[in-house]
């Protein structure tokens, strides 16, 4: 793989297409994610955003196209990598429908996130040598840092199965961070969060970008979050690119408004005309 022209580019997708039976889920999509930026994919439901993520993390193989990845020491075509190698290259992701290890505690989930950073082999593990012990303590320390960072102390030892939706979202983010990635793929990080929590999420994403220096590729429907944290936005529709630019530019794009945002009319139109509401008995 030759080095991409622009050394600023972390990930370069070129002419990606994938077809499922009759559905052309992604159609000739190209984009770059630059080092240190927050790059957002938006688009109506079924536009192919999650599919792009799945292509990057090698759950699907593209029908055509390449994804160039420029790690610190390696430049590879992601489409040639085995699925489990993606994490090792420095790409971590979260899932739209949350895929956690349900029967394990939060801490345990985060430790599994440390897998690619494991320092010991099978035989050492079997004997639990002092090296393993030391490595384990280091893994704990890192996991605790992330727990601290995302305010999860309260849930450290709870089983994931019993967590509320919003907390799971955060745990998934924490697990992804545990791999110490260069690029973080976030699939709808704010879905299921309320306004306040969405704001926290925005702060976290900014911290991740600025303090940890991790690039973020994100799919998101909440435009307030998108405008707040994204450097650039790519709008898709029916598998194709509609617009690319700053959040403001994209939000003003007529195609995006038409297919995605809807005409900005007042939500208050939903409101029932005063007086016609069914009466409630006094409590």
């Amino acid at each position: 793989m030759s080095r991409p022209a622009n050394s600023d580019v972390l990930l370069a997708a070129r002419n990606l297409s994938v077809r499922f039976g009759g559905v052309l889920a992604v159609n000739d999509v190209s984009f770059d994610v630059r080092r240190g930026e927050v790059f957002t994919l938006i688009g109506p439901n079924g536009a192919g955003k999650t599919t792009v993520f799945n292509l990057i993390s090698r759950i699907y193989t593209p029908t055509t196209g390449t994804i160039a990845w420029s790690g610190p020491d390696r430049h590879v075509d992601l489409t040639q990598q085995a699925p489990h190698q993606v994490a090792g290259l420095g790409i971590a992701r979260t899932f739209q429908n949350i895929e956690l290890f349900e029967h394990a505690s939060v801490l345990h989930n985060l430790l599994i996130g440390r897998h690619i950073r494991r320092e010991t082999g099978l035989w050492a593990d079997m004997l639990f040598t002092s090296r393993v012990r030391a490595a384990e303590v280091r893994a704990r320390t890192k996991a605790e840092e992330i727990i601290e960072f995302l305010d999860l102390q309260h849930y450290r030892d709870t089983l994931v199965a019993g967590l509320p939706y919003g907390v799971r979202k955060v745990v998934e983010l924490a697990r992804a961070l545990c791999t110490e990635p260069r690029l973080l793929l976030l699939d709808e990080p704010s879905s299921g969060l309320n306004v306040e929590e969405t704001e926290d999420m925005a702060f976290w994403i900014q911290d991740i970008q600025q303090d940890l220096g991790i690039s973020v590729l994100m799919v998101e429907h909440d435009m307030s979050l998108v405008s707040k944290v994204s450097d650039r936005v790519l709008a898709m529709n029916q598998g194709e690119v509609v617009a690319l630019g700053t959040p403001q530019e994209v939000q003003a794009h007529p195609g995006v408004i038409e297919a995605y945002l809807g005409s900005i009319d007042e939500v208050a139109s939903l409101r029932r005309p005063a007086g016609s509401a069914p009466a409630r008995s006094a409590t």
């Binding site: 439901n45 509320p164 939706y165 809807g262 208050a268 939903l270 009466a279 409630r280």
Partner: protein, 272 residues
């Protein structure tokens, strides 16, 4: 949807009716963890009621308790005046209440169409079912397009549309909606709320709504409850709630720029 309208009851506008749904002092727990602690609420026939609350407040738990998925430790649930506490979930659906669950829960290996038909499982009026199928296809044309596809392969948002449509197919008296806008595009979110309001107006279907998008919810609903840590901390007509400072700050995101600055600053919630 006019065809089915005759079969459903008309909203009891204007007069003080017996509540369609009433929870009294309900307490539910997961093992040793109490998720809701003594919740009482009422839903009047023909209204849209909303429950707001932060993560883990227990909103989903309330809905699960109502539809019989979770047996409450204490308290009672009444539907149309009859006690349905801890009844078999299927029996509750047959009474005319249907639940759109959190996380979509579509039948992943059945076709989209079969999913919709399963929504109408409790109905035996074949013609009306066929008409309602057309109606939901009208709401969400993508479902018609994908009618023969396995539902598990739809995108997240498409599955959400399917989950809502499936519940509509039951032509219920009361719909429990758990975060209907989850994962939907802004445009579709708006459309969903429009549909919800329309169903409520046209068919008189009563709706109990749990939603993170408080702005939408408070606009669409007539009455609201605010839930924190498993307790109801505030309730009232939506017009009233919209004006409260706490609601504005914590749920509508309209904050005092002066107090909450650029970087993180968290204000402790205290309920006045």
């Amino acid at each position: 949807m006019s065809g089915a309208a005759e079969t459903t009851m008309a909203p009891a506008h204007g007069k003080v009716a017996q509540p369609l749904l009433r929870l009294q002092n309900v307490e539910s727990a997961y093992g040793p963890i109490k998720a809701i602690r003594g919740v009482s609420l009422k839903v009047q026939p023909g209204e849209i009621a909303a429950v707001l609350g932060s993560n883990g407040a227990g909103k989903t738990t309330i809905l699960k308790t109502i539809s019989g998925i979770l047996d409450p430790r204490r308290g009672s649930v009444e539907f149309e005046g009859a006690d349905i506490t801890a009844h078999d979930p299927a029996a509750i659906v047959r009474r005319g209440m249907v639940h759109v669950p959190e996380g979509r829960e579509v039948f992943a290996l059945l076709s989209v169409r079969d999913n919709l038909m399963m929504g109408a499982y409790t109905r035996s009026d074949g013609d009306a079912v066929a008409r309602d199928l057309e109606v939901v296809y009208g709401y969400f044309p993508i479902l018609r397009e994908r009618a023969a596809q396995e539902a598990g392969l739809l995108s997240g948002g498409q599955q959400q549309m399917l989950a809502i449509s499936r519940a509509l197919m039951a032509a219920p008296k009361l719909i429990l909606l758990d975060e209907p806008s989850l994962g939907l595009s802004p445009r579709l979110t708006k459309e969903i709320f429009e549909i919800v309001v329309r169903i409520n107006r046209e068919r008189g279907t009563t709706i109990l709504l749990v939603e993170q998008n408080a702005n939408m919810a408070l606009n669409a609903a007539d009455f609201g409850y605010v839930l924190e840590n498993g307790r109801i901390v505030m309730e009232g007509g939506c017009d009233v709630l919209r004006e409260k400072d706490d609601i504005k700050e914590f749920y509508l995101g309209m904050k005092d720029q002066g107090v909450r600055g650029e970087r993180r600053w968290k204000k402790k919630k205290t309920w006045r």
